[in-house]
């Protein structure tokens, strides 16, 4: 039990915060209902994928500054491929873009391994490269998305055996997110590869000496990051119906959510659930700020304060909660 609290306490606390925010939202706007929740889920989608992409590499002891640029590139690629193409063609575009993300992500990893330069520099460099590539694909926002793709995040999923009112709270966007993340994350977490990713993040030398193929693991971690980023890029195209070559604000948001979600920058610790809940928290805060019609200039202050306060609080309870006798 105490081990559960130690390992999952942060995530549980975050979840409690989320529930608290939902209650607050309902108080602010009594009409807040399932439709609004659907909006929230759709807003969360690109952030959640960005944060998943970031989480994998952070756990592996790295950082990926190219997440947002990767999303932009995959988004414009998808949008320009689907422009004027048939609905069925999108069936080919989606896997193609996912593979593209995976390969480009792997390339990040390969460059890190081969150049031996720090992750932060390599991904900073690829940030520019991917941005440039996105501009070459589409010089200005444009392109299109297949209608069935756009429909895939609108509305709700009828879940057999559940009453309608409950179905209404299962927006397609949320179901899509959960499915996409679980399909990759759960098997990964249970596999030796997953352990290896945690291992190289925790202590690279020890991992190497334990026989972990460090280089290969790092490359795969970045490839997975690329894959998640490609999902994020697709989700952008799906929700906006276009591709935009300028990266959105997903990089810093992803780093912030990773830390809020209890994943140590430095590697080896944490999971995916925390950061995803953190994304919901951050988006819901944004909703509340809008519902309250707070002065927009003050919202920046509030968002910054919340970020700092939550992390400080976390740090504070870890300092306090240290067992007696442990050397700090």
């Amino acid at each position: 039990m105490s081990r559960f609290i130690r390992n999952q306490g942060w995530v549980a606390g975050l979840f409690a915060l989320l529930i608290f925010l939902f209650v607050t939202t309902k108080l602010i706007q009594p009409g807040y209902g399932s439709g609004d929740f659907g909006s929230l889920a759709r807003a969360v989608l690109p952030y959640a994928f960005a944060v998943a992409a970031q989480t994998v590499v952070v756990i592996a002891g790295g950082i990926d500054l190219s997440v947002a640029a990767m999303m932009a590139l995959t988004s414009v690629t998808a949008a320009s491929m689907m422009n004027g193409a048939s609905e069925e063609y999108a069936l080919f575009v989606v896997p193609f873009v996912l593979v593209l993300g995976f390969v480009l992500g792997a390339l990040n990893g390969v460059l890190i391994v081969v150049t031996r330069a720090p992750d932060i520099v390599v991904t900073l460099a690829t940030l520019f490269v991917l941005q440039g590539a996105a501009l070459l694909v589409l010089g200005a926002p444009g392109g299109a998305a297949a209608e069935w793709l756009k429909a895939s995040v609108i509305g709700t999923v009828p879940i057999p055996g559940l009453p309608d009112w409950a179905d209404a709270w299962a927006p397609k966007a949320l179901v899509l997110l959960v499915v996409c993340l679980c399909i990759i994350w759960i098997p990964l977490r249970r596999s030796r590869l997953g352990l290896s990713i945690y291992a190289i993040g925790s202590n690279e030398l020890a991992a190497f000496r334990s026989g972990v193929p460090v280089a290969r693991t790092r490359i795969i971690a970045y490839a997975l990051s690329g894959l998640f980023a490609a999902m994020g890029g697709l989700s952008l195209t799906i929700s906006t119906g276009i591709g935009a070559p300028i990266p959105g604000p997903y990089l810093l948001a992803s780093v912030a959510a990773v830390v809020l979600g209890g994943v140590a920058l430095g590697g080896g610790k944490g999971g995916l659930l925390g950061p995803i809940i953190a994304v919901f928290v951050l988006r819901l805060v944004r909703t509340d700020l809008t519902l309250l019609a707070i002065d927009p200039n003050v919202t920046a202050i509030i968002e910054g304060l919340i970020m700092v306060a939550v992390v400080m609080f976390g740090a504070f309870i870890t300092i306090r909660g240290r067992p007696v006798g442990a050397t700090p």
Partner: protein, 514 residues
């Protein structure tokens, strides 16, 4: 008929920039043999182990396993070839629990558990995160993990150095049985007792070259030392002074006076005095509260009860700097805790000089140079790779941690197992140094995991068991059986009924224990 070697390495060389870690090392191990690899600090033992197990690649050399040429390019390849190391530093992944660590290396769990029990840790929870496990236990887990896959050749790099006596004993016992079972073990240690109890032959390295291979037989010790160091060294018994001398030097007030010290469940009612000019030994089995005692005195942890007086005045430490201000310096047993590994030897030694707010200004480089090189000279630190401490050999790193407080001229030094992983020659130096410090009126609190050290350096010994001081011996009475009995919490005079401790030397029948 001579058996053909299981492992045969010849002409191994490895350079780090200008430093030659290995020049021409060779090592040949027979099946079923426990083979010692010996050498002074920095001789290249760890480097050779790393090369044999694929952790680093050699610049030159040839490695044969069962007569077959083998290119061990990675730890995984070495594992496949049946070579398994336990390195000088723990190799479990800190943020994974033990079970995940086993899965990561594909180690079978049940054999591992069996070995862990065998090695004297009955109640390990394999769901514990490695980071939360004490260093000594981690070392044992490393060994159990290696044993569980039944390697052909087991390479143990200073396996016992960080272990308290009870665990070390178990390890030796297990290792010896490996040899009996036909598997080979390469065993690195600076402790001759262990070597003579355990090993069949020894390969001696000096300055990166193999200088000889000898059979272990009574009296060979001197010869090995000679080969290791190139010269004969005097193995002196440092004379401890009688307790009444101390009182004269120190005056009536003790330098450090601890009363009823309490720390959660770890320390109960610890009281003792440390006089000026006195070396007091602390002896304990693993995990009896000695770590916490030292950390408390060093200001790293705040006690939950009791008092500490320095020179008769009560003190409360809330940070190590308070202790340092009071002239109390702490040398931790784990050197990675004490050193800035990427910085130079000089910066590491001079670090306390800049600690205080008042000392943040310009550094007087010349004065610092003098003080630092004085300390380096006094501990004879091998400074060939001094640009970064991490490039020093383990033993030399250990010396840097002590040199720091010699340079800072601390009045009281809390030494936690300072000779861990230090070669014989240097050990003598350190004993001498501690006595010299005592001679200058400084006081030393000295925890050791090696019983014979107690007699070499200490004036008095206190024994801790279950967070309490269970006994205090003048050095004359601190023979090994007495210490061991006390360490197990057995009162003095009850010796007859404890057969287990008849002789602590693992050489004797430790099997009788169970």
């Amino acid at each position: 008929m001579p058996k053909s070697p299981l492992l045969d390495a010849t002409g191994v060389a490895k350079n780090y920039g200008a430093v030659a870690a290995l020049r021409n090392a060779s090592l040949s191990v027979l099946p079923g043999e426990v083979h010692a690899l010996m050498g002074a600090n920095g001789a290249g033992k760890s480097t050779l182990v790393k090369i044999l197990t694929g952790a680093i690649n050699a610049d030159a050399g040839r490695i044969l396993i069962r007569g077959q040429l083998l290119d061990v390019r990675s730890p995984a390849a070495a594992r496949r070839a049946g070579l398994l190391p336990v390195y000088q530093e723990p190799s479990l992944i800190p943020d994974l629990d033990v079970l995940s660590n086993l899965r990561l290396t594909g180690t079978p769990v049940e054999p591992f558990r069996a070995w862990v029990r065998e090695l004297g840790i009955p109640n390990l929870d394999i769901r514990d995160t490695a980071r939360d496990i004490p260093l000594a236990i981690l070392r044992v887990l490393d060994l159990a993990r290696a044993l569980a896959v039944e390697p052909d050749v087991l390479l143990l790099d200073e396996m016992t150095a960080a272990l308290p006596a009870n665990l070390a004993e178990k390890v030796l016992e297990v290792v010896r049985r490996q040899g009996d079972a036909g598997r080979s073990v390469i065993f690195i240690s600076h402790r001759f007792v262990e070597i003579s109890a355990l090993c069949d032959r020894a390969t001696v390295l000096r300055d990166g070259s193999t200088v000889g291979v000898v059979d272990i037989e009574p009296g060979i010790e001197e010869k090995i030392v000679e080969m290791m160091l190139g010269t004969r060294i005097e193995k002196t018994r440092v004379a401890a002074r009688a307790a009444n001398d101390v009182a004269v030097v120190g005056g009536s007030r003790p330098r450090l006076s601890v009363r009823n010290l309490q720390l959660g469940t770890k320390l109960n009612d610890v009281s003792f005095d440390l006089a000026n000019g006195e070396v007091v030994g602390v002896f304990a089995l693993e995990g009896q509260g000695q770590d916490e005692l030292f950390a408390t005195l060093a200001g790293s942890i705040r006690p939950t009860g009791g008092t500490i007086d320095v020179d008769g005045a009560p003190v409360k430490f809330s940070h190590p700097s308070d202790a340092i201000q009071a002239g109390i310096a702490y040398v931790p047993g784990d050197r990675t805790e004490a050193l800035a590994m990427q910085r130079s030897v000089r910066e590491n030694i001079a670090l306390p000089f800049s600690a205080g707010l008042r000392k943040w200004g310009p550094i007087r480089m010349r004065r610092e140079q003098v003080v630092v090189s004085g300390a380096i000279g006094r501990l004879q630190i091998d400074t060939r790779a001094q640009g970064e401490v991490q490039r020093l050999s383990g033993g030399n790193q250990q010396k840097v941690t002590i040199a720091r407080w010699i340079a800072a001229n601390a009045r009281t030094i809390l030494c936690f197992d300072p000779t861990r992983g230090i070669d014989v020659g240097t050990k003598q130096e350190i004993y001498k140094l501690l006595r010299e410090l005592a001679g200058q009126g400084k006081s030393v609190l000295f925890y050791t995991s090696e019983m014979e050290e107690v007699q070499r350096v200490c004036d008095r010994v206190i024994v801790i068991f279950g967070g309490r001081v269970v006994d205090t011996f003048p050095v004359e009475e601190a023979d090994e059986p007495a210490l061991m009995r006390a360490a197990y919490g057995l009162p003095r005079g009850a010796r007859a009924d404890v057969g287990i401790l008849a002789d602590v030397r693992p050489a004797s029948d430790a099997e009788a224990a169970s």
